[in-house]
């Protein structure tokens, strides 16, 4: 049984999704989804434990040995992210029970949970697999199901948002598959580990260079790196709140993982740096992205859009960590990957709770909610503080490591810019706080009560995680360090 964990992790939600269609009773479907997701979570805990004890796990699907068969490789890096994705997914699903019931018409509930589980399958699959083509398959599974989830949003603009995301996502996936295809052409293998062995022989060929170019652009589109982020704010703003919370916390993170995995474990960092000034490009795009989108966040009127733009800015920090090109920088990126998922999960779930109560995510409708929904609002404040990087929250830990890495590299002007950009975060978070606590209500709030327990509990679980991992950093920093070390170590 334990032997099959790597694949069970993916198979369970994959089988769970169609089962949802058979169950048919909307209420049961919700419970079923929680069950499936928590099973995945338990398995990922087991996997993490095994990796911790015995190191990398290699699993051959159907007993076919690599490079012919598909291979799942679980190492420090992806066991940690599997834990994150399945954990967040479970927590979000608990809140989904009430939130989805209110936000979506009843006949759509089943579709929502089905696509949610499919999306989870896709994300977990991308993380677990060690096969380049398999990545593409899972990428499409997760992408198609997220288009569905976004399109389920009741706002009619959700359809255009979803359509745009569909077009962009498909272009991204196509570029990735072109890249994979070109590599296959040159090496005749699709197994990542095998690719890493064979690619060095053909590094000079233009085909491999083209493959790399297509791949990078495709992934950057998926992870919404500035200026390829334009699809993201709309998609996040108009999707059902639960979908936003899930996608914001996990989907772009998985794309960042993919980028890291390919740069380090497939192409190899030496090839990447000699063939392209990638560090410089990432540095510039990351910084411009941080500033441009943070400033955009300041001027938004819809709170989901504020934090959607802020998500793009946070991606900028992760890319900045990669741009440093040292082990410390990579550690910072991996830390922020984890920590940002916690922050954005908290924030979007709390916003979801507000939408549940007042049916709107316009910022000025939040006026006066400080008194009506104190616990939910406190969670938004906590998430916001974490986003700014206040000590005792996870945000501080990741910013600290990022800045230490920047200083270690000697890039202190960049470090100063990062600190200044935190001030921008102060501004947009403060705007939210000001509306919540210091403004007169703009809409009638008499009937508004605190969010239901089923939402408060997941929200506060995430808040506590924000605080806990801000103090006890053994897991996050420890694993990030190990992962960064091993990524730098395996490069030829």
């Amino acid at each position: 049984m334990i032997y099959h964990y790597p694949v069970l992790q993916v198979i369970i939600p994959l089988l769970g999704a169609p089962l949802c269609l058979f169950i048919r009773v909307p209420r049961l479907v919700g419970f079923f989804a929680v069950l499936v997701s928590s099973l995945s979570f338990l398995i990922s805990c087991g996997l993490r434990q095994q990796v911790h004890l015995y190191g990398t796990i290699v699993y051959e699907l159907g007993g076919w040995a690599a490079p012919w068969g598909i291979e799942y490789r679980i190492d420090q890096l992806n066991s940690y992210l599997l834990l994150l994705v399945s954990g967040i997914s479970t927590i979000v699903l608990i809140a989904a029970q009430t939130s989805i019931k209110k936000e979506l018409p009843e006949n759509r509930h089943i579709f929502f949970y089905t696509s949610y589980l499919l999306c989870l399958t896709g994300l977990l699959g991308i993380l677990a697999t060690g096969d380049a083509f398999n990545v593409f398959v899972f990428l499409e599974i997760s992408a198609l199901s997220s288009y569905t989830m976004i399109a389920l949003g009741t706002d009619r603009r959700a359809l255009t948002a979803s359509y745009q995301y569909l077009v962009m996502g498909t272009i991204g996936a196509t570029f990735i598959i072109i890249g994979v295809g070109l590599m296959y052409m040159m090496t005749g293998t699709l197994n990542m580990y095998d690719l890493a062995q064979r690619l060095p022989e053909v590094y000079k060929s233009k085909t491999v260079l083209c493959a790399f170019g297509f791949f990078i652009v495709g992934v950057c589109l998926k992870l919404a790196l500035f200026p390829l982020h334009l699809w993201l704010p709309n998609a996040y703003a108009f999707a059902p709140s639960i979908a936003t919370a899930f996608l914001a916390a996990t989907s772009t993170k998985v794309a960042v993982y993919l980028l890291i995995r390919y740069i380090f474990s497939v192409f190899g960092i030496d090839f990447v740096t000699t063939s392209l000034p990638l560090h410089d490009i990432f540095l510039v795009l990351g910084l411009i992205g941080i500033f441009a989108t943070s400033i955009s966040a300041i001027y938004q009127r819809n709170i989901k859009r504020i934090f959607a733009y802020s998500s793009v800015a946070q991606i900028g920090y992760m890319i900045l960590g990669l741009a440093i090109g040292t082990e410390l920088g990579l550690t910072a990126t991996l830390l922020h990957l984890f920590n940002h998922a916690l922050m954005k999960g908290t924030l979007f779930l709390a916003i979801g709770a507000v939408v549940y109560r007042i049916g709107s995510s316009q910022l000025n409708h939040f006026a006066g909610l400080g008194k009506k929904m104190p616990l939910t609002m406190a969670a938004i404040v906590a998430g916001g503080l974490s986003l700014i990087g206040v000590p005792l929250t996870v945000g501080f830990v990741s910013k600290w490591y990022l800045i230490v890495a920047l200083l270690d590299k000697g890039w202190w002007p960049v470090a100063v810019l990062v600190l200044i950009s935190s001030l921008l975060a102060v501004i947009y978070v403060w705007r939210v706080i000001e509306w919540i606590y210091f403004s007169q209500p703009r809409i009638i709030l008499d009937d508004v009560r605190e969010a239901p327990m089923s939402q408060l509990i997941p929200i506060w679980l995430l808040v506590l995680a924000n605080l806990y991992f801000g103090v006890d950093t053994r897991l996050t920093v420890g694993v990030s360090k190990l992962a960064a070390q091993s990524l730098f170590g395996v490069t030829p």
């Binding site: 077009v167 000699t274 300041i298 206040v390 600290w400 202190w412 100063v416 600190l419 935190s422």
Partner: protein
């Protein structure tokens, strides 16, 4: 014994929670009791001090460090917290009580912080909690002033963090000890401390925000923020020569600004900066005597400054007025407050037998001993200035001068008691200075009451008072505020070249012009940003899909060009 390892800020934070949950007399009692207990606990700590260590990330944190230097600040912060809480007991505003206690707790936490990260956390807490004391006034002006205050305070925190980060990456340790200038991190941290210590050109937050806070809030504010910064400077920058000149400037320039103020609490705010100047100067000189002087000055200063702010607060509370021109003649109806205020005024003017004297003379003597004659002279001038604007102007315009016709009563009992405690301490320390000297970080056998000190100071004071009385008798000292400034300035103007005044006004004009240009540039920038980024603006418009695809094509083209043209 675990009790001794309980960091002193924790009782305060518990107190804040208690204040949040209870009401009425029970709350009053509990708040005071917690402060007293916490003070007693600090008192009982072993002579050698306490050090609590904790691992975080890969660093060693020291969240609680009691040694001679931090302990004396701990004592005086407890006294200040007790007096301020007592003074504000009549207020029925939970926010003020809670934020007051949190604020005092943060200051105590900062003073006992043994590493830079802990320090940074309390530094930011100090900023945030104190802002609520300003906002608690609940006026638009106070709100605006609070925002400006918060921005500057948070900026100080950000600069501190930047300095700490560079410091850590340079030295690899978070230990908070002597830092010194000469490195980038040293400068950054100094600037962060300097903002809170109201260094010249960074002082505007103080005179801007303190007079806008609530009656009771100002008493809290006057005690903690700046003195925490003084402690930080004494800890990390003793003997930095630059600080001598900074301190001397701080001691002098507020005099000129204080005289043109009509709001008596603003006058006190300026005199607060002037007093900080003495302390900064002492730290800059850096000898054992000078640092002792700075520390003891901080100690006594907290007490008499809060006494003065409390008496002015009592006036504001009872009459609703604080402008010098609106007040006067209050001694008839508020005699006790008047006497207490005069004790505070005498202390700040350093009359012998009052607490200011025993501290200030140490710094002055240290300046002379180290050969800083000019500095000594400047400090002397500043002392005369203090006498003028705080020692005379405050009690005279509030309680005497022309009778404003206001008839009121003495303030509430808790205010009177709080003021009396502070006044008794002022006198006690003035008469038995050894009580204070025992607590100082360096052993001392300094005796302030030798002939030369007493004579010099008394001479200065009596000439100043004589001049005041003479002018008053001859009618040269009209009660109107505007004329007063010029008359009394004449006393010390002789010592300074007249150019100084035109120099100041030139500086002010240039400063205003520069600031105007800078502000319009900043405003234009903001306009530009908002045009760009508002929903529908260029940066955050909802884009057609084709636009996004174009970006993809551009990026792909760039990557391909780079890849194919450079790799070979």
């Amino acid at each position: 014994m675990w009790m001794s390892e309980l960091p002193a800020f924790i009782p305060f934070f518990i107190g804040a929670v208690v204040a949040l949950l209870t009401r009425g007399h029970l709350r009053s009692f509990l708040m005071l009791a917690i402060i007293v207990l916490s003070g007693l606990q600090l008192w009982m700590l072993p002579e050698a001090g306490v050090r609590v260590e904790l691992g975080f990330l890969e660093y060693q944190l020291v969240p609680y460090r009691v040694d001679a230097l931090s302990r004396i600040f701990g004592y005086v912060f407890h006294i200040a917290a007790f007096v301020s809480v007592l003074y504000s007991l009549h207020v029925r505003d939970t926010i003020q009580h809670v934020s007051g206690l949190l604020y005092a707790g943060s200051a105590i936490g900062a003073v006992f912080a043994g590493d830079l990260l802990t320090l940074f956390i309390f530094w930011e807490l100090l900023a945030v909690t104190s802002t609520f004391l300003i906002w608690a006034q609940r006026t638009e002006r106070a709100y605006q002033a609070g925002i400006r205050y918060l921005i500057i305070q948070v900026l100080s925190g950000v600069i501190l963090l930047a300095g700490v980060l560079i410091h850590v990456s340079r030295t690899g340790s978070l230990a908070f000890d002597f830092i010194g200038i000469g490195t980038v991190d040293g400068w950054l941290i100094l600037i962060a401390f300097g903002i809170k210590a109201a260094f010249p050109f960074m002082h505007t937050w103080l005179t801007d925000a303190y007079p806008e806070a609530t009656v009771t809030g100002t008493v809290f504010l006057s005690a903690f923020t700046t003195k925490t910064a003084i402690y930080m400077l004494a800890r990390s920058y003793p003997g930095t020569e630059l600080l001598i000149y900074v301190g001397a400037t701080m001691a002098c320039f507020p005099i000129f600004f204080a005289v043109i103020q009509n709001d008596l609490r603003r006058v006190l705010s300026y005199s607060l900066i002037n007093q900080l100047g003495f302390m900064v100067c002492g730290i800059g000189i850096g000898t054992a005597l000078a640092v002792n002087g700075a520390v003891s000055h901080a100690f006594v200063h907290i007490i008499y400054k809060s006494l003065l702010f409390m008496s002015m607060g009592a006036v504001l509370h009872m009459t609703g007025k604080i402008k010098a021109t609106d007040l006067g003649g209050l001694y008839k109806t508020m005699p006790k407050t008047a006497i207490l205020c005069i004790i505070g005024a005498a202390s700040i003017s350093a009359f012998p037998l009052f607490s200011g004297f025993v501290a200030k003379s140490m710094i002055m003597v240290a300046a002379l001993k180290e050969g800083h004659d000019w500095i000594w002279l400047i400090l002397l001038l500043a002392s005369a200035g203090v006498l003028k604007h705080a020692g005379i102007q405050i009690p005279y315009f509030a309680f005497f001068a022309h009778d404003s016709g206001i008839r009121t009563t003495e303030p509430p009992k808790n205010m009177l008691i709080a003021m009396t405690i502070a006044a008794v301490l002022c006198l006690a320390i003035g008469i038995y200075p050894t009580m204070l000297y025992q607590l100082l970080p360096f052993k001392t056998d300094f005796n302030p009451y030798d002939v030369s000190h007493v004579l010099a100071q008394t001479q200065l004071l009596f000439f100043a008072v004589l001049a005041f009385v003479l002018l008053n008798l001859k009618g040269l000292y009209p009660p109107e505020v505007r004329a007063t400034n010029i008359d009394v300035e004449w006393l010390y103007r002789r010592m300074l070249p007249r150019i100084l005044r035109s120099g100041f006004s030139w500086i002010r004009r240039t400063d205003e012009a520069l600031r105007g240009v800078a502000m319009s540039k900043v405003n234009n920038l903001f306009d530009y940003f908002s045009q760009l980024h508002y929903p529908g603006g260029k940066m955050s418009r909802m884009r057609p899909t084709g636009h996004m695809v174009m970006w993809v094509a551009v990026l792909l083209a760039v990557y391909m060009w780079l890849l194919l043209s450079f790799a070979n």
